[in-house]
């Protein structure tokens, strides 16, 4: 077990290197990343010169890569160009909790809804329930989230109004300005209203795919011979499903759950943009489009590294829940 983990951790190093090179390479393709800054009259020419030197844009690309690479290793992620005065690390530290809150709630909610539905749908395969669930899963999976977000906004913020004339739900943001110092419950209720739409929009599509995964995993299991064996020895149907089948059907799901955790950190770029949520997703997009390369590169790299780490965690969890897997 220990050897296996050590070997896998060592195996991650080249992966992370590739990811860093790819992240770096993409931004190196930009002919002049400082063009946007030059157009900004508030930034002094000398400052830009300093940045170019600091980022090594006066050096050949491989030297520039090593400069950036050693900086990242040492924890110096460079200044944010988007938010002058902040370091890339500060900017990311501000966005991270916001994203984790939205995505974390969405993630748990989706699983809580989707897994039981997927199980029922599989157990009652070909029933009306199964058809309805299948159609809704596909609706969720085929829905362009940005469009669904806009439609929800139209419904809850434009058409549906409170008696006071205010929109039923706030169209964007994460809290009402001015309530920062309000009592806990006031803030709680306030922020909850901001969460409803983004969480619903994201959950609709992920409930769809989780339901499909759970259903197909369960269908795969219920036709196995050992399920027939369980029935043949007189196990009550409830236990056949909840013990014998579910324990097996959850094995691939647990892996998928572990693989999805990095997504919580990476955020959902478009939904965050539409609902004006200052999280990781919208930060990375903004950093990319506004030439804040230090932030964009580090943001990308962080999420990629998390994916790699959780790949390993998924494998370990897999071996833990499935007695057939040996660490070898």
């Amino acid at each position: 077990m220990r050897d296996y983990v050590i070997r896998r951790v060592l195996g991650m190093i080249p992966l992370i290197l590739i990811v860093m090179i790819v992240a770096f390479a993409i931004f190196s393709l930009v002919p002049n990343p400082f063009a946007a800054l030059i157009e900004n009259p508030r930034i002094k020419k000398a400052d830009i010169e300093r940045l170019i030197k600091a980022w090594g844009f006066d050096l050949p690309w491989y030297l520039r890569f090593f400069k950036w690479f050693s900086g990242v290793i040492k924890g110096d992620w460079g200044p944010s160009l988007l938010y002058p005065g902040s370091s890339a690390r500060d900017v990311i530290a501000r966005a991270l909790p916001v994203t984790i809150r939205v995505m974390g709630i969405e993630f748990l909610l989706s699983l809580l809804i989707a897994l039981p539905i997927g199980i029922i749908s599989a157990v009652k395969q070909y029933s009306v329930t199964d058809y309805v669930v299948t159609v809704f899963s596909f609706l969720g999976m085929s829905m362009p989230t940005f469009w669904f977000g806009l439609m929800m906004m139209m419904l809850f913020s434009v058409f549906l109004k409170r008696p006071s004339g205010a929109p039923l739900l706030p169209a964007g943001g994460i809290m009402t300005p001015g309530l920062e110092e309000a009592p806990f419950w006031t803030r709680f209720v306030d922020q909850l209203q901001y969460l409803v739409m983004p969480v619903l929009v994201l959950a609709f599509s992920s409930v769809g795919s989780w339901t499909r995964y759970m259903r197909s995993s369960m269908l795969e299991v219920v036709r196995q011979d050992y399920i027939r064996t369980a029935r043949a020895k007189g196990v009550p149907e409830r236990l056949v499903i909840n013990k014998h089948a579910l324990r097996n059907a959850l094995i691939p799901i647990v892996t998928l759950v572990a693989l999805s955790v990095p997504g919580i950190v990476g955020g959902a770029s478009i939904t965050e943009k539409i609902f004006n949520i200052p999280g990781m997703g919208s930060l990375i997009i903004a950093a990319e489009t506004k030439s804040d390369y230090p932030t964009a590169m580090v943001g990308l790299m962080l999420t990629s590294v998390l994916v790699i780490v959780f790949n390993l965690i998924a494998d370990i969890v897999y071996a833990w829940v499935d007695p057939r897997i040996k660490y070898s």
Binding site: T229, A232, G234, V235, E237, H244, I251, D322, P323
Partner: protein, 328 residues
């Protein structure tokens, strides 16, 4: 021999499958009698309905697509087809047990073999965990598994195919059933292992006294074990007699063909091809008119193509479904 108490009496059983492509009459008017403590062989090609008969007795026909249309299965004087699902569940694994073809897949991969056997025990007997555990170890010992204490904690994938089938037998016999159904239980095993398992079953039958229904496509498997042999073809019994009679003087042309296709080392000359029954098993969607065997039968006449023969007792205890039985 027929003055023994009748344990199971299957009368005119019809089990159909409703598939997308049409109705499959897998079992279509099948009769079968098993006496207390008797070993009965049910033999036929794949698709003749022998496994479906076994699953019908267990009431484990997957519905949809399968359904028991009509008939009676009298067990201990009561019709199993009239029992509620819960009553049936209490019989399964207790009074009637079943072992299956694939020892590789018939055990649940995520539970230890010990847990799977003791589950069967606690389901049907009022015992505490320690008692069930003790009984499980006894059963493992009984079926000839060395080091039962250690095997108890092992997972199915850690055992060989033959060992797994022994575990299945231990599980099936843990509640002292009156009837053990063995559905091709040795087919997937190596020939030497196959012989060992058959020996084990015969030994256990002598010791515990249950009746065994052996379902196989291989006449040789039941040759030495079964007292009575029933030959099934296209969902019906075509011949039913003592094993001696079947081998000595088969009366149905199909039985005769089956016997001819068993290689006999002593008699065979090298260049002579092994006689096989001409033609193919009829498509379940298009059963021939008249006798179902007529398209493949060398003795078929107009009558055979027009009318379906009844199962008649030609000599005491020897039932044949044929207009032109072979003279002994």
């Amino acid at each position: 021999m027929d003055n023994r108490e009748v344990l199971v009496d299957v009368k005119n059983l019809r089990t159909f499958f409703y598939t997308e492509d049409g109705v499959v009459p897998a079992v279509d008017g099948l009769d079968l009698t098993i006496h207390r403590g008797e070993i009965v062989g049910l033999v036929g090609e794949s698709g003749c309905g022998k496994s479906v008969t076994a699953l019908s007795i267990m009431r484990l026909i997957p519905n949809p697509p399968g359904k028991i249309i009509s008939g009676e299965i009298i067990f201990h004087g009561e019709n199993l087809l009239k029992k509620s699902e819960e009553e049936m569940r209490l019989i399964r694994g207790d009074k009637i047990s079943m072992i299956f073809q694939e020892p590789m897949t018939s055990l649940n991969p995520v539970f230890t073999v010990g847990d799977q056997i003791s589950e069967a025990i606690t389901l049907h007997q009022k015992t505490d965990e320690a008692e069930a555990r003790k009984r499980t170890v006894e059963m493992l010992h009984l079926v000839g598994i060395p080091e039962p204490e250690r095997r108890y904690r092992q997972y199915p994938h850690e055992l060989s195919g033959g060992m797994r089938q022994r575990v299945m037998i231990a599980m099936a016999l843990s509640s002292n059933p009156d009837l053990l159904i063995s559905d091709e239980a040795t087919t997937a095993l190596d020939v030497t292992i196959q012989a060992q398992i058959l020996d084990l079953m015969r030994g256990l039958q002598k010791k515990l006294g249950m009746a065994i229904l052996i379902i196989t496509h291989n006449l040789a498997v039941v040759a030495e074990m079964a007292e009575t042999i029933a030959i099934a073809y296209a969902g019906k019994i075509v011949e039913n007699a003592s094993a001696r009679e079947i081998f000595k003087s088969p009366r149905h042309p199909y039985t005769y063909g089956l016997l001819q296709s068993i290689p006999k080392f002593a008699e065979r000359r090298t260049n002579e091809p092994l006689p096989a029954i001409e033609g193919m098993v009829p498509s379940p969607y298009h059963m021939p008119n008249g006798c179902r065997f007529n398209p493949r039968c060398p003795f078929a006449t107009e009558k055979c193509r027009a009318e379906e023969p009844e199962l008649v007792e030609l000599t005491p205890g020897h039932l044949v479904r044929c207009f032109h039985p072979i003279e002994p």
